[in-house]
């Protein structure tokens, strides 16, 4: 099955924030009240009602202000840590088309995914008691449309399409891709101008060690421990037996 993907070339981004707006419009997300924090960036980051956000990286180089932008949202990892830790069957799932889908109806708001995401994407909505994030416009892509953010991007910084051909195109242009193989391959990839960490992205994204230990080591150990206890009890009962306080002893 062809994989849906987005390739975001940050050098083409003009920070118009149309992606932010179209995301809100398509997904019917309310505006978030924000305050000025010394930057044109607005709002300050992702939230349960902001699934796409343009990060502003403002630096001064040789006396000149440099602006670099990163349109950011869920990266839709192949080996998604959020899907791995989600305890509710079907609440978070990786679909065959490359989408990491969060089913609002099934989410119980346990927030395990928030702790597991290496990109800090999922956010909790206190009023609704659920977690929200970008679903790669699953309702659009299922009907052959592109994602709302890619559709609206005027400078073609965000391109939506088949993952393999997006990668081929970028490589043909001699561009380095962030996310081609990370976490099994991300469905949202970047062509960056600086190091990933400059944009606040992890250089080597991975499942947190604590999360891996929690579910891959501790959980099976639990069954070993409880199983051994039950076995020890049965053995004790058979081999040594109860302490009788009258009669036999």
């Amino acid at each position: 099955m062809p994989k849906n993907a987005m390739l975001i070339d940050v050098s083409r981004c003009i920070a118009c924030r149309a992606c932010q707006v179209s995301c809100k419009q398509w997904n019917r997300l309310p505006a978030v009240k924000s305050s000025f924090a010394g930057s044109y960036e607005n709002p300050s980051g992702l939230s349960s009602a902001t699934w796409r956000h343009v990060r502003f990286k403002e630096t001064v180089e040789k006396g000149e202000v440099k602006w670099r932008f990163l349109s950011f949202g869920c990266m839709h990892c192949k080996d998604a840590p959020c899907v791995f830790v989600c305890p509710v069957p079907g609440a978070l799932s990786r679909r065959d088309d490359g989408t990491v889908y969060l089913d609002e109806q099934k989410c119980t708001g346990c927030k395990y995914c928030i702790s597991a995401c290496p990109f800090d994407v999922p956010h909790y909505d206190d009023a609704k008691g659920k977690v929200y994030k970008c679903n790669l416009c699953a309702d659009r892509t299922a009907n052959g449309l592109s994602t709302a953010c890619a559709k609206t991007c005027p400078s073609e910084a965000i391109r939506f399409g088949d993952r393999d051909s997006l990668i081929k195109d970028a490589k043909a242009g001699g561009k380095k891709i962030y996310g081609e193989n990370e976490l099994g391959g991300l469905s949202v990839m970047y062509v960056l101008q600086e190091t990933p960490s400059f944009y606040g992205l992890p250089d080597k994204p991975a499942m947190p060690v604590t999360t891996a230990f929690w579910k891959k080591v501790l959980k099976p150990l639990g069954y070993v421990g409880v199983g051994a206890t039950v076995a020890a009890i049965i053995l004790h009962y058979i081999a040594i037996g109860p302490k009788r306080y009258k009669g036999g002893e």
Partner: protein, 210 residues
């Protein structure tokens, strides 16, 4: 068969509420421990109800943990020479006919379990609150991740401990379980299992609790 009162109504009540809350917490919690147990959440009307019950019964669990601590600390949170010796021979449980040193109202094994329950319960509560409202507490992610690990470690340890505790109170020691329901135990049972306690109680007039 002469009996004596081992636990008062209040003692039995506190223990029962604490035990039942533990079972409810276990059943509402392990649905989220492993997808294999997810079906258990249906017992309580779905995963949302399970979480709701888990949070609030958790508070009951902590309240009764402290009540239990204060009702038994004078007898369970003390350690003497006999207790040391009791632990050394594992209370005589590891062989037939091994004699354990005389115990007070609680033997050294029960005292260890009492200590374990107390600290595990407190850590359960702290990590549980962190898992419940991490955003409100604005804690770093690492702390939240460590809370998940600690909460599950305590869970595993306590399930192992409680299974042993239940075995020792039932199959392994006939005549014990009545102390949780009627509060009465056979006098011979008391002399055999808790000699020092039995002597204290009988000195004070037989069937009355000290």
């Amino acid at each position: 068969m002469p009996t004596i009162e081992r636990h008062t109504v209040k003692e039995r009540g506190v223990h029962a509420v604490h035990a039942i809350s533990f079972i409810i917490l276990l059943l509402t919690g392990i649905g989220l421990y492993d997808k294999g147990f997810f079906g258990l959440t249906r017992l309580f009307g779905g995963v949302d109800w399970s979480r709701f019950i888990h949070h609030w019964i958790g508070i009951v669990f902590i309240v009764f943990l402290f009540m239990m601590y204060f009702q038994w600390k004078d007898e369970a949170a003390v350690f003497d020479k006999d207790d040391k010796e009791w632990l050394r021979v594992f209370g005589g449980y590891l062989g037939k006919g091994v004699k354990a040193p005389p115990a007070g109202k609680f033997n050294a094994g029960q005292k260890m379990f009492f200590k374990m329950i107390f600290w595990a319960g407190i850590l359960f509560g702290i990590t549980g609150i962190i898992m419940w409202i991490p955003q409100t507490l604005a804690l770093p992610k690492t702390i939240v991740q460590l809370s998940y690990i600690l909460h599950d470690m305590i869970l595993i340890g306590l399930v192992m401990g409680v299974l042993t505790h239940v075995y020792l109170g039932t199959l392994a020691n006939p005549g014990t379980i009545s102390s949780l329901f009627t509060g009465q135990v056979d006098e011979q049972w008391a002399r055999h299992h808790h000699e020092k306690w039995y002597k204290q109680v009988s000195k004070k007039g037989g069937s009355r609790r000290l």
